[in-house]
């Protein structure tokens, strides 16, 4: 096979991964899967970077999104009602990609059709489970696609180089970061450091009552709600 054909095949593969990942991210009912699909989408984009001879950028992308998304998924799981999507995937009327990307989330007993506890198969409909703005979102996404495609078609003529860029992209990136863009690079580092200081300050132990203190207060409040509520700090009793 010729190199050009292989390049086209690789491009098609990575582009398909990127698009399928994005579609899965937006349509699956499981928050955890959603994060993993986003990772897959970015891995597809990283493959496109490799095709453009930017291997350092590609692996940076994979590192940022694998490590970063894993931590983000933890927080999503912490704050969402149904992170595994087991309940949402049993909603009636899932169609197309929503149905496909939520396959395998249901409990096995429901798949056979003969459900032995039918009362649980259809959970109470919660308003947070419906997505009334879906049509609007689809139109918005289509418009964004048209705008991006138009930008691509109506672009000014890009300069084409005959020579291949040097293979050692890490070296080039390093030269640029430590030379031409040093002020911006170091400035970003300083900003991140300040952000770390800020978060450490916010999370210092004395800022909020610890969980032990909170439990003590709650126990006391359960025993004698009126007295403690009047005596204690009201902020500490909110939970």
């Amino acid at each position: 096979m010729s190199t050009a054909l292989l390049q086209w095949l690789a491009f098609a593969l990575f582009a398909a991964i990127a698009i399928a990942g994005a579609l899965g991210m937006a349509t699956t009912m499981s928050m955890f899967r959603s994060g993993v699909f986003l990772m897959a989408s970015f891995v597809g984009v990283a493959g496109l970077f490799v095709l453009l001879l930017a291997d350092l950028l590609a692996w940076l992308q994979v590192m940022m999104y694998v490590g970063g998304m894993l931590v983000m998924i933890l927080f999503m799981v912490l704050f969402s009602h149904d992170p595994g999507g087991a309940m949402m995937s049993e909603m009636p009327g899932l169609r197309g990609p929503e149905r496909f990307f939520s396959l395998g989330l249901r409990a096995p007993s429901h798949e056979g059709g003969g459900s032995d506890h039918g009362g649980h198969a259809m959970p109470q409909m919660d308003m947070s489970m419906t997505t009334p703005l879906r049509r609007f979102a689809v139109v918005l996404a289509a418009l964004a696609f048209v705008a991006l495609a138009a930008l691509l078609l109506l672009r000014p003529a890009w300069r084409q180089l005959d020579a291949m860029p040097a293979a050692d992209s890490a070296h080039r990136v390093g030269e640029l970061l430590m030379g031409k863009y040093m002020a911006a690079f170091e400035g970003a580092g300083l900003l991140i450091l300040l952000g770390i200081f800020g978060s450490v300050y916010l999370a210092r132990p004395s800022a909020h009552p610890g969980s032990a203190a909170r439990e003590r207060l709650q126990a006391a409040a359960a025993d004698a709600p009126v007295d403690v509520a009047e005596a204690g700090d009201p902020r500490e009793l909110q939970r």
């Binding site: 291997d55 692996w59 994979v62 590192m63 694998v66 894993l70 595994g84 992209s169 890490a170």
Partner: protein, 305 residues
Amino acid sequence: MGVGLAVLWTLLLALAGSALVAAIEPHRLGHGNEPGPAAELRTLPWRRSRRPDRWLHGAAPVVALIALAWAVLILPFGRELIGADLGIGLFYFLVVVDILLLAVALGGWGADTADAVECCYRVIAQLVAYVVPLGLAVIGPAMMARSLSTVDIVEAQARAGLWYVVAQPLGFALFVAAGLMQSYRAPFLEPFAQRLQQAMLASYAPPLRALWRVALSGLLFVVAAMGATLFLGGYAGPWLPGWAWMLLKTLAMIVLMLGLGRCFALRSSAQMLALSWKLLIPLGLLNVLVVGALILLGVGQGAFR
């Protein structure tokens, strides 16, 4: 190497490496077949999941094996005996091993029992603990060799006539500590403590559990081989052929890491995070400073300039 040959080489090396670790390691990770408590745990009804996420659960061991094979790709067993000598090999290695961690997280979440999900949580906490000290430890050899390519780092050590473990003892100690965290071995095996490990691995049918065993044993092999490459001169050495030196040094690293790990009490995830951020990261920054000064003094540069 051609592409097909490289694929074959990585697969064979990954299998051989994990077999080596499994033969040495007395108390194996991923070993869920013992009679007694393990078998008992598996039969308890509440340990079984009612709603596993079958996509993620099934994909996890395959992702783990792919990550292992990718990591093996850049381990040099000779100047030519390497899957692919990437220009950014060292950085690539760090990224690819994170993908193995992703696989563990997928498996833990996919199994959907309380203990398995806890395994997923703790493994991610461990990522936050080890990744920065590890990066600071491996930056030293890259600085001295002026390259991220594993072959170049070995050649630079051979040219200077100096193993980097001599020039950078602090970096080596950091690598051993962070490497033990990265491979979930002795003092840092909280995510794979008996209960959690069995919850995660017991949810797999035996063939898939074997895949996990290969991946988790191979993980120690690739970390030790990377340590041998960065700090012990890799495949360079007199008398013996290159691959034999590399194998011997990797073996020495495995024994050293497992032996040292047993000298310390087990650490919880919280203790690991505290150790990493309060001790290892400052030491790592100090190490980078010291290595920079050494390079300016001409240490480890050999006939390079």
